[in-house]
Structure formats: C-alpha cells, structure tokens
C-alpha cells in the first residue's frame, strides 16, 4: 500500500469512528478496562468484582483486558496513551501509581499528571507475617529481634517491585535494618517456604495470608491499617502494637486517560460509587480482606491526592534502598510516537524492565 493511500485510509477510518462516538450518549459500546496484572490475581479480582456491577449501571459490558508486564507499567502505559473517550479505562495500583516512578527511571507516564482519576476501588492491607515458630511473640519482640540480628534473618519477597518487596523495604527502612532477602517468583512459592520454615518473615497482602494465619501455619504480628480487619479481628494494628508509622496498603483505583470528558468521567465515578454501595459487591470485596473506601475517599479528587502522596512517600524510600530497575539506555531514547489518530494506541514500548508485581 502506498503511503498516501494508507494515510487517507487511516484518516477515513478514524473519522468514521469519531463521528460515531460523538453522536450517541456515552457509553454506546463495551468499555475496555485494562488490568495490568495477570487474570486471577488480587487486582484482577477487584477489577472483575467492581466491573461486573458497573456494567449494570452503565448498561454496557466492561471487558477486562489483562495486559501484563514490567510490574504493571506496560498495561498502564498503554492505557495512558489510549484515546480519552471513556472507552478505555484502567485499574491502577499502589505499584503502578505510587512506587513505579522510583522503580522505573524511564517510566513513560506521570501517575499524577497523565490520568483523569475516576476513584479508589479498594484497599488491601499489608500484614507482617513470620514462620510459625519464629522466636518473637508480638510486634515489639519482632522489632527488637530485627534490630538485634537483622542480617541473620531471612526475609521472603515476591520479586523486585512486587507488593511484598516494596512494603517490606518500607518496613526495614523505617527500622533501619538490613536483612537477608530471599526472592521468589510470586507470592505462592514465598508463602510455601514460610510455612515450611525455610524463611523467617515477610510482608504481604491480607488476601494471600489470612487463611494461613487463621489455620496457624504461619503467624502474624500486625496489620498496617488504622483499624483492625474483619477478616482477622484478633490481629492488632501496627498502631496498637507499637509501630504506628508503618501504614501501608496495596490499593486499587480506577483511572481514565488524561483529557477524558468531564461528563464521561463523572458517569464512570457514579457507576463505581454505586458498585461500592451494593451489598453483594461489598460482601465479595470484604471477603478478599479489602477495605472499601468511605464516601469521601471515592471521589476523583481524593484519588488524585492519594496518588500524589504515595509517589512522594515511595520515591525516597525506594531510592534510599537503592532499588530500581536498571536504566535501559535504548528504551530511554526510543520514545513511543503518538498513537494513530482516533485509533487506540498501538501497544506502546514498555518502560524499563522489572519483575511483575504479584
């Protein structure tokens, strides 16, 4: 095909698409929600549970598209560059919209500037866990033990940039200790070795550890939220147990590309709020150990504030710990060109590499 003809074709097709979407009321076709992690993981579950109810409100199906890679930043990069028409939205996460700027020096989006925030969907609290015969009976003793023999303790994590890795880094940096870090590929194998007593402790999302804690195959010291979780009512908070500064949650929130029309964003936020008020949806989210944001916490403005504060919090912690994906000069210089007019962005180049967050 010669160059002009193809340009013409692209413009023609794009204008058909644009004309179509400008006329009718949003949404008049299925909405794609990019989930930047694999199907079946915690973020995917939140997205599917919330998305199912939102589909009812919007009157159009929300199609979940799992675009994995580079700790979730591959999918979010694609979403950030998609047409801002409300037909492509995404489920962001503490990693993609908080830790990523520190982890990926060549990140192609700015979590605070390149999105129209829709609203916070759920928080998933972090729990400090240890093997069941670990010699510390509560958080105070655990902290003392960490300070006394940190380097002799084996800390499990699910890979660079994963939730367990960043949140444990926050813990060790607040305590100013170093530990022997044992890396796994994902949460499953790490919990397996924690049960088997091969490693000493770790930090992870409540959904991955709650059942183990209840059964007593591993033990937990504290949950890093202001209030106790109904999933583990006996577990003290970090505030109660003597480590009040350790507050961390792997939150999930919905974003649209920057420039999404205000009425479209409002419709999406409305659908999200309705989903979070629905009894069935709430029950399923609570079952995951998730914390459902209150009314004030669901607004786009609250989400914007959260993103800004999270980036400000993670950047110094991760930089000080010297954790980052290696700078990749070739990836840094080969910028992704703007997407074809009207057409959704072609799969863009991913930013610098890192292990997937699980």
């Amino acid at each position: 095909m010669n160059r002009n003809a193809s340009k013409l074709l692209a413009t023609l097709l794009a204008s058909i698409a644009a004309a179509g979407s400008a006329l009718a009321a949003y949404p008049e076709r299925p909405v794609t929600m990019i989930v930047p992690f694999a199907a079946g993981g915690p973020t995917d579950q939140v997205a599917r549970i919330v998305g199912e109810h939102m589909s009812k409100t919007l009157g159009q199906t929300i199609v979940i598209e799992n675009v994995t890679g580079a700790g979730g930043t591959t999918g979010i990069t694609r979403g950030a560059q998609a047409a801002a028409d409300g037909y492509t939205i995404m489920m962001g996460h503490m990693g993609t919209h908080g830790a990523a700027p520190a982890l990926y020096p060549t990140l192609k989006y700015d979590p605070a500037k390149d999105f129209s925030p829709i609203g916070l969907a759920a928080g998933t609290p972090i729990v400090i866990v240890a093997k069941k015969d670990f010699a510390a009976k509560d958080l105070k003793e655990f902290v003392a033990k960490m300070k006394a023999d940190g380097p002799k303790l084996n800390e499990g994590n699910a890979g660079v940039g994963s939730v367990s890795h960043t949140t444990c880094t926050l813990l060790t940096s607040q305590l100013s200790v170093k530990t022997a870090r044992v890396t796994y590929k994902g949460t499953g194998p790490m919990i397996n070795d924690l049960i088997g007593g091969q490693i000493d402790f770790g930090c992870d999302q409540i959904v991955s550890v709650a059942e183990q804690i209840k059964a007593g195959t591993i033990k937990a010291y504290a949950i890093a939220t202001p209030e106790r979780s109904p999933a583990l009512p006996d577990l003290p908070t970090t505030k109660e147990a003597g480590l009040p500064d350790y507050q961390v949650s792997a939150w999930n929130a919905m974003f649209a590309p920057k420039g999404t029309p205000a009425d479209v964003a409002a419709k999406l936020n409305d659908a999200l709020v309705k989903a979070l008020d629905d009894e069935g949806t709430r029950k399923r989210l609570l079952n995951l150990g998730a914390v459902i944001p209150d009314k004030a916490g669901r607004s786009p403005a609250a989400l914007q504030k959260l993103v800004e504060s999270e980036v400000a919090r993670w950047t110094p912690v991760l930089k000080a710990a010297g954790i980052s994906a290696a700078v990749n000069p070739a990836a840094a210089t080969s910028g992704t060109p703007p997407p074809a007019a009207g057409a959704p962005a072609a799969a863009p180049a991913a930013p610098a590499p890192a292990a997937p967050a699980k």
């Binding site: 199907a39 599917r48 002799k152 397996n192 709650a210 079952n287 590499p353 292990a355």
Partner: protein
Amino acid sequence: MFDILGNLALGFTVALTVKNLALCFAGCLIGTLIGVLPGVGPIATIAMLLPITYGLDPIGALIMLSGIYYGAQYGGSTTAILVNIPGEATSVVTTLDGHQMAKQGRAGVALGTAAIASFFAGTFATLVVAGLALPMTALALKFGPSDRFALMVMGLVFAVVLARGSVPKALAMIVLGILLSTIGTDGETGEDRMTFGLPQISDGLDFAVIAMGIFGFAEILKNLENPEARDVVRGTIGRLLPSRDDLRASAAPAMRGTLLGSFLGILPGNGAVLAPFASYTLEKRIAKDPSRFGNGAIEGVAGPEAANNAGAQTSFIPLLTLGIPPNAVMALMVGAMTIHGLIPGPQIMSKQPQLFWGLIASMWIGNLMLLIINLPLVGLWVRLLKVPYRLMFPAILLFCCIGIYSIGNKPEDVMMTAAFGFIGYSLLKLGFEPAPLLLGFVLGRLMEENLRQAMSKAGATLLSLFDSPLAASLLVFSAVLLLLAVLPAVRKSREEVFQE
C-alpha cells in the same frame, strides 16, 4: 480407611448431581476443544475460560474448572501428537514419539493410548489425593530451595538422555535453553539481562512464544519443504484404537509413569514439570532396544502421558491442603476460587468437606469424562489430518497468532514468535533438535530461582547446597547419570578419530 471411603462417598454425593455432572462434562469438552487449538496451551485455555465460570456457584465453578483443566491438558497432548506442537512444557515429551507414531499412521493408537494411560493415572492419583494428601504435604514441605535446585539439575540431566542425535549438539541446545531463560530483568536485583534494549522482553521470554516459534513454525516450514513426507502422513490412517498388544506394551510404562508423576506432582516449585521426562528417561533406560525411542515407541507415549496426568492431579494437593498454588495453572485456580469467595487455605478440608471431597470425586469423574469424550473424538481428530495441508497450515498459524496474542493481549508477543520461528528454522537447518532447548528453558529458570534462594539465605555458601542429604544425593546421582550419558559419546567420537 473407612474414613476415606466415607469421605469419598460424601464427595460423590456432591459431584454426582445432574448439574455438577453436566458442568464437569461441559468443562472437559470445552477444555478439550479449546486446548486442541495449536498455540493455545492449557494455561491460556484456562485463562480464557475462567470468566465463563463466574456465574456459577463455587462448587459448580470449581468442578467445571477442573474439567476444563483436564480437557486442556489432554487437548494439548492431542496437538502434540497430531501436529507436533507442544502447548506446554510437559507435552514436549509427547511430541517425541507421539508425533512419530502419527507419521507412521498410528495417530489413533497414540491418541487412544494417551487417553487410556491418562485415565489410569488419573484414577490412581485421585486415590493418592484422597488418602495421602496430608502426609504427602508434610513431605513436600521438607523440600527447601537447595533440594529443589538439586531436583532441577537432575531434570536437566534427564534432558540430555532425551536427545536423539549427537550428544554435544543436544547439550548445546539445553545450555542455549538455559541461556534464553535468563533473558529479562533479574527478579532479585532488577538488573537488565541481555534484553538489548528491547522493552518487549524485559519480563523474560514466554514459554508459549518460544515453543510456537521454535517448534510450531519450524515444523510447518519443514512440512512445506517436504510435500511428499507430509502427504505420506495424511495418506495412511490405520486403526483408531490401540490393539491388545499395544495395551500390553503400554501397561507397565503407564504404571511406572503414574508412580513417578504422583510423587513429583506434589513438590513445590513446579516439580510436576519433571514428571513426563523422568518417565521417558526411565523407559528409555530400561528398554531392551532404546533406539526405538524417538521413532514411535508406544512406551514413550504411555509412560509420559500417565506421568503427566498423575502429576497434574497430585499438584492439586498443595493447593487443597495448604492453599498454595504450586504452578501457574494452580495459581489461576486460586484466583477462580477466591473470586467465588473461597479463599483456599489449610482449613478447607476441615471447614468445607463438601467442597474438598466433592472436588476430589469430580477429579475422578473428570478423568472418566475425558475418556468418554475423547475415545470417540479420536476418529474426528485423526480425520482432521485429512484436511489438505495447504489449508491446514494457514489455519494453524492463525490459531497460533490468536493464542499468543491472548496471553497478554500484546501484538509484540506475536512478533516475538515470528522471530523465534526464524531462529527455530535456522536451528533446524543446522541439525539441532528443539526439544532439549525447551526443557533447558523451563528447567533453567526454575534451577536459577532455587539456587539463588538457597544462596541468599543468611550465612549460605556453595558448600551449604550439600547440607541437605537429599540435595547432596540428588546432585551426586545427577553427576553420575551425566557421565553415563556423555562418556559413550566421547568414547565413540574418539574411536572415530582413531580410525582415521
């Protein structure tokens, strides 16, 4: 013992409702039909079909999902036998003799043997799951990183034994596979390893991409080059089901494979992946005439297929007793359970006995369904070989493209597959075999993970790899096995040199 019978009876009352039977049947059937598409391996199949179970009640959804799982596994073996494209690591072994059998007009026999051996293994492994789940879990938990490392080293040595042609060239392919497995960001340090600035491979290479490129596309090109050879395959179809002699020859290998698979399946760190080649290696070692292997030996299908299915079954054990997924497929199952509000954990057996025993009963029913569905389908699959190749290969390509795209919804993956197709074709032209490369790729990654876990522990040194008696004996055994495999080749080439 009465406990088990009572529990199994409870399980069967759950699984034998009309609705659950129907779901199990539907799952097996859909799993087989999607899993048989080349380019769509079991993980992709389950990920694709996961959402259709969301509307069901938890037990029904799990029963259907396990049906899908068995169906997808068997569908993958079918593709491996018919068109020589493995959908996952474990069916690489099936391509070796299964496809050779197909080429000799024994596709039906190979498919039937695979189905029957799988059923036998599934039945045995279901009993293992029912009776020995708890002691086997305790045993598996004793495997630390250094033991798993030693196990993977042993697996790599098995891969040498699988080689059909020259030993140095097979070794080179295994090593190349290990090298390829290290591409991508280092999971421990975040350093960039051999990505050459390509962000597409920063997460490492995907098994399906390599398998499809190196195995699938290269196979298509090979067939296009030899129209005569491919038409010979199509011309003769032979009998559809294994004869009595075939069954007799398969019985002992299937039994040995079942035992191996049942044990390896419970190991953390994806030990099930070792089962088929451990079985193949064993069969080849004890065979009276090892040269038949690689040329359509039925033992090379029966043993590994049984091992594969037994391993697939017992790999449910860590999930059911601990709530820990031992591999990617099981991780998907955890996701499915969680979304239905069942968070798998150590208490599932005591708190939800209907679910636990219902699932075990439906495992066996699933295996039975698989047999019922697949024996009649053998005729259909074999007839598919009658489709003219000029139409068949573009269809295979299209399914591959869609399958690879669906893994991560990324066109870059499809491009990578094309690139590996070129690499695979070049390797073929240089006389290399693809199977050892794939095994090196899968095991190399696991080996490195476990080695680094063992070595990251506080106070670890290289010598501490031998602290565990199990790890030490596995490593010594591997070294001996490697010498046995390599020495004859060295001696042979030296003789050749001296002859001149």
